[in-house]
């Protein structure tokens, strides 16, 4: 049997020296969409960062392609997993196209230059996030939501089997939120990808997730979305009464 794309066994999340959450165990296969939920400060970002940078306990407790994270050379790991961080700080001006092109870095050899095809791929991925025509813009002039979509376009170009996104919808308007979710779902099948995405909007999570992780409760929970997104569980975790309602053929979560 092939190893799972990502296997996490008994992982503890640390904030500095303090144990924040755990133990957490789950397996991610290609084609699955995992939503990471939990109140502020419950360790969502720390979990994603630990998995992305193979730091701390995640180096041993998590395996990608059957191999512990800590044993992967960084350059090869970049072909397996990608992360769109919550925020990016640009210190220097740069054309948007150049920033997106950097997603090709792990796929090019040390001496190679980005060529015509790489550029065409970058333009295509800008178009997918609805930023066609932004190629020549300076990243420093972008709005928060535009910058976030540039980061998503960079991730699309990096094309990792395991894509992690830390609140990618936070700065996006409603239409762009749905657009980004749709393109992530589209790639699950076409690119054989798996997604782990932290998000605060439970309804949006319900819309796309096949699986969910909930942090912040007495014990972290992970599993198929139907088992995890349950009113009693969420009410307890968020400390506020929540209930599911059906409309437009979907399930929507509303706070009381």
């Amino acid at each position: 049997m092939n190893p799972s794309l990502l296997e996490v066994d008994e992982l503890w999340i640390y904030a500095g020296a303090r144990r924040l959450a755990g133990p957490l165990s789950f397996r991610v296969e290609r084609g699955q969409f995992w939503c990471l939920l939990g109140p502020n400060g419950s360790g969502k970002t720390l979990l994603l960062q630990a998995l992305a940078t193979a730091s701390g306990a995640a180096a041993h407790a998590a395996r990608i392609g059957g191999r512990p994270l800590g044993e992967w050379p960084l350059a090869e790991l970049a072909c397996w997993r990608g992360l769109v961080p919550q925020q990016l700080h640009d210190a220097f001006a740069a054309p948007v196209l150049d920033v997106v092109l950097q997603g090709r870095h792990p796929h090019l050899s040390r001496w190679a230059w980005e060529g015509r095809e790489d550029r065409a791929m970058a333009l295509a991925s800008l178009e997918r996030v609805d930023l066609a025509g932004f190629a020549g813009r300076d990243v420093l002039t972008l709005s928060g939501g535009e910058r976030q979509r540039v980061a998503i376009a960079t991730l699309l170009l990096q094309d990792p089997p395991l894509a992690m996104l830390d609140e990618p919808l936070a700065h996006l308007d409603l239409a762009q939120q749905i657009r980004v979710l749709d393109l992530l779902v589209e790639d699950l099948a076409t690119a054989g990808r798996a997604v782990i995405m932290s998000v605060h909007d439970l309804s949006l999570a319900q819309r796309v997730a096949t699986h969910a992780i909930v942090l912040g409760g007495a014990r972290p929970l992970a599993g198929p979305v139907d088992e995890i997104l349950v009113a009693e569980t969420l009410t307890a975790v968020f400390g506020h009464p929540l209930s599911a309602h059906n409309a437009l053929g979907r399930t929507w979560w509303l706070p009381h």
Binding site: L74, L88, H89, L101
Partner: protein, 346 residues
């Protein structure tokens, strides 16, 4: 304020890079010829090739070979080293306002050189003192803040390099206190040479073999590591996520830039502004791809310092100015203009 689309110079592959570098090399050659031709005894351009490559026993040949050529080579080498070191330091600390001395190297160098001048030892010991001082400062900063080079606290967060910067600034302040002490107790007749050294001076400067060798080495370093440098510029976190060994890369940049700056200080004292202004101006002109920017900084830095030194020795001739005065006089206004431009385009 409305966000207007500004067209930035973009990465366009190796062909464009080659043309840019050839252009820069051409300008550099012209300025080099100018430096050889200008002076109290002007030499016609037409005679330059003959005097250079087939020298006779004339006074002109002697002037070119004994006086102007070594000085021009020293100026070009120093300018190239300082600019490339500046470009690399700006990547390392992710700050466009960084220069080769930002991590305290100039303080150490000045302390070493001025100690030698104060003790009245032979002239060559002054440069050696500067070199040793620069290296001591480099190692001290590295020893205190070295672990920061590998730290990527949170992928999204800004840099951990603030501590690196502050360590450099503090050590520099410490060294400058020592420099002030020496200046205040040194014999009056030596003060002038001390001040000249601190301003950066190319009279009698000779480029050492290591300094000459470091120029092409540094320029070539940009090719295999260029894409990684570009990534580091976006931030240590994004670089790490795309497979860059951030710690190793930062170590390499730190070592290369410090050595280049130390070699230039060893040649001509602490010349300011070249390492700050040249990479910054080039970034606005040709874009921010380090594979082009670092070698182009070398060429442009060489041309800039050659021109500045030519002005320094001809403007008030026979009186010679320290070249550092000229670079600051030209560099500071250029920089202020760039800053005000930047605030408009942002």
């Amino acid at each position: 304020m409305s966000v207007r689309a500004i067209v930035l110079p973009r990465t366009h592959g190796p062909a464009r890079a080659l043309w840019l570098l050839l252009g820069a090399a051409f300008v550099c050659t012209l300025v080099f010829a100018l430096a050889l031709a200008c002076g109290s005894n002007p030499i016609p351009w037409a005679d330059l090739p003959r005097l250079l490559f087939a020298p006779d026993a004339s006074v002109e040949a002697d002037i070119v070979h004994r006086l102007r050529l070594p000085r021009a080579v020293a100026a070009a080498t120093t300018g190239a080293l300082l600019s490339m070191a500046g470009a690399l330091m700006q990547v390392l600390v992710r700050n466009p306002l960084a220069d080769p001395y930002v991590l305290g190297l100039s303080g150490g160098a000045a302390l070493g050189a001025l100690s030698a001048i104060a003790l009245g030892t032979a002239a060559w010991t002054v440069n050696l003192g500067a070199f040793v001082g620069a290296l001591v400062a480099t190692f001290a900063v590295f020893g205190l803040a070295g672990p920061d080079l590998g730290r990527v606290e949170r992928v999204s967060a800004a840099d951990p390099s603030a501590r690196l910067l502050l360590t450099g600034v503090m050590l520099s302040a410490l060294a400058m206190a020592g420099v002030s002490l020496i200046l205040s107790v040194a014999p009056v007749e030596r003060l002038r040479s001390m001040v000249f050294w601190m301003l950066g001076d190319l009279s009698g400067a000779v480029a050492s073999v290591p300094a000459l060798a470091a120029v092409p080495l540094l320029a070539l370093l940009a090719l295999p590591f260029g894409r990684e440098l570009n990534l580091l510029l976006r931030g240590p976190g994004p670089a790490l996520l795309l497979g860059v060994d951030v710690r190793r890369l930062r170590l390499l940049i730190y070592a290369a830039a410090s050595l280049a700056a130390a070699l230039s200080v060893n040649t001509a004292g602490t010349i300011g502004f070249v390492g700050l202004v040249v990479p910054h101006a080039l970034r606005l002109l040709i874009g921010n791809d380090q594979r082009v920017l670092v070698p182009a900084s070398g060429l442009a830095g060489a041309a800039f310092l050659l021109a500045a030194d030519t002005v320094a020795r001809t403007l008030l001739a026979p009186q010679q100015l320290p070249v550092g005065v000229v670079t600051a006089m030209v560099g500071a206004p250029i920089f202020l203009w760039l800053l005000s431009r930047r605030s408009v385009t942002r």
